[in-house]
């Protein structure tokens, strides 16, 4: 297939269908509604099923049922809708059901706004529902990466029997970019879904039960230790990160998704002025690429985290940094997109004044005045 110009939300849908997803359950919400719209038009063409659910909660529970019946299944939403789905996501993690969940993040809290934001980092990586569990979380920064990571997500969900979340933002959902989408068969080494409730006629002699209840504490703990063995395997095997012009950098920025693209523009400006600056771009938010931060050379005394939030990923950066370097921060909230010049000016300010001083935390109001 040649390259076509597609909107991010639609590209996710096309990529999912090309990866064998035949079931989509969803509820309309800005800025991701093009995804259910696309699925409603195109799933029936391949014998698939689209159901517009009565609620976000129903959608994720339809996914639970469909996944438990052995299907590749997807749902999508945006921040407050994802909040509503958290109960179901926790149940799926507990019952070990694969599912791909798309969050095209908008501003919060509450109804917040409908513009791009990254303020759901904690919701995605800390487990928004009850209990001890983790999702594998992908954060694309281009429409092509939305395609590639969506397709990978289906394999990883099946491999780990765990929900996988794609975290985009309103910018990535709405932007149009050229993409190539090719049919992708499920990885050949994936385990057979012998656990699926497909009716005993399909697995004679054994009843299959999908369940997350363990009334005996010892059994619950065994179950959770099993889940965490999976998460440890993810931490060992699934980290994806882009290290951009880090080799000779004196200062390293950390950003993901749309913000990482803006940071790259700032790096271009700074490099033109001779400032040695690099970017660590987490592609998996969980597992977080801790090693990329931990192994930075002694030369790097400062990290600058840039997020479209008041600072959520910065906690993971600080954990990985273990206090070795100053961690500075630029944050804008829903729809207030960071400006390359402000990022570049902040880098220069840090290099000039903060070699051994306090971390800079750029207040939101100050940035606009600086322009």
């Amino acid at each position: 297939m040649s390259r076509v110009l597609m909107k991010g939300n639609e590209a996710i849908g096309a990529a999912a269908i090309a990866a064998g997803c035949r079931f989509f359950f969803g509820y309309p919400i800005t800025p991701q509604s093009e995804l259910p719209e696309y699925m409603s038009a195109h799933l029936p063409e391949v014998g698939g099923v689209f159901v517009q659910s009565e609620s976000e909660i129903a959608a994720i529970n339809m996914c639970y049922g469909a996944s438990g019946a052995g299907a590749r299944v997807m749902t999508g939403s945006s921040s407050p809708g994802i909040a509503l789905k958290q109960e179901g996501i926790s149940y799926m993690a507990g019952a070990e059901l694969p599912c791909v969940i798309v969050n095209i993040v908008r501003g919060g809290p509450g109804l917040g706004g409908i513009q791009p934001a990254q303020s759901d980092y904690n919701q995605a990586t800390r487990g928004g529902g009850d209990g001890d569990y983790k999702l594998l979380v992908y954060a694309p920064s281009t429409v092509q990466e939305m395609v590639d990571l969506t397709q990978l997500a289906f394999d990883k969900a099946d491999q780990y029997r765990n929900p996988v979340m794609i975290v985009g933002d309103g910018m990535l959902g709405q932007i149009m970019e050229p993409v190539e989408i090719t049919p992708r068969a499920a990885a050949s080494d994936l385990p057979e879904k012998t656990w699926a409730t497909t009716g005993v006629r399909n697995h004679p002699g054994r009843r299959n039960v999908i369940n997350s209840l363990f009334l005996k504490p010892e059994m619950l703990e065994d179950h959770i230790l099993g889940l965490f063995a999976k998460y440890e395997a993810m931490r060992a095997d699934e980290v994806l990160v882009e290290e951009y012009q880090v080799e000779d950098a004196d200062i390293v920025l950390v950003a993901y998704g749309t913000t990482a693209r803006i940071v790259k523009s700032a790096i271009g400006m700074l490099r033109a002025e001779g400032v040695k600056v690099g970017l660590i771009r987490p592609i998996t938010l969980y597992p977080f690429p801790e090693a990329s931060i931990a192994r930075l050379p002694e030369r790097v005394k400062n990290l600058l985290v840039v997020e479209m939030s008041m600072g959520q990923m910065i906690d993971d950066v600080k954990i990985a940094n273990e206090g070795h370097r100053l961690v500075h921060f630029i944050g804008r909230t829903g729809g207030m997109i960071p400006i390359p010049k402000v990022i570049a000016d902040t880098v220069k300010h840090i290099l000039a004044e903060h070699h051994a001083g306090d971390a800079a935390h750029v207040a939101v109001g100050v940035q606009m005045e600086d322009l």
């Binding site: 409730t197 497909t198 369940n211």
Partner: protein
Amino acid sequence: MTSAFTRTLGLTTVETHYCPGCTHGIIHRLVGEVLEELGVLDRTIGVVPVGCSTLAYDYFNCDVQQASHGRAPAVATGIKRVLPDSVVFTYQGDGDLASIGTGEIVHAAHRGENITVIFVNNAIYGMTGGQMAPTTLVGQKTTTSPLGRDPHTAGYPIRIAEMLAQIPGASFIERVSSDSPPHIKAARRAIKRGFETQLAGEGFSLIEVLSTCPTNWGIEPVAALGWLKDNMIPYYPLGNLRDPRKAVRP
């Protein structure tokens, strides 16, 4: 030698956890018998709720999914859409279906989802210890209506069968009771008709089964059967409200 009574293949041999005098066991057996009689056990997937019947995933002798509170009809929708040739049923109590799960049950009916719902109404929250249910009768004392349900502050009991019978997608709706042998026989017939409706591809079916909770009602099992008959049936009248075989629709 002929045997007068045997276990149904529709239930496992696991001993249930239900309290003495609770009629969940009878209703489980009716569902199991019907699935066995229809010869569909090996292509049936049950969905169990949150509440007293959560552990029914150990009792129904078929594949089972355990759903979060109130969401069984959504879970069943997902299963049925993936496996349209399977038989899918939910088994839900009144707290699960008529309170926290009203959205899911109403819209599953509206979509005409080709599933069967066994709705067990005992007018109280059993598993959590006897709190007021959406179906608790006016004046009925519970741990959260200690002076009796006051409709001015706590509203009136919900008649689910009548409510769902207004929905075009609801194909088969009947209310039955578990208080006496004739009523139990009628309940069995209704449950069978519900599954037959699904097997014929005729859409959503729901059987509301009135049931007892001696433990949380605070009365003896036999007295509980009488209380059901004297108090619940007058407010929750038994009978068929919709059947695709009937020409006339309400």
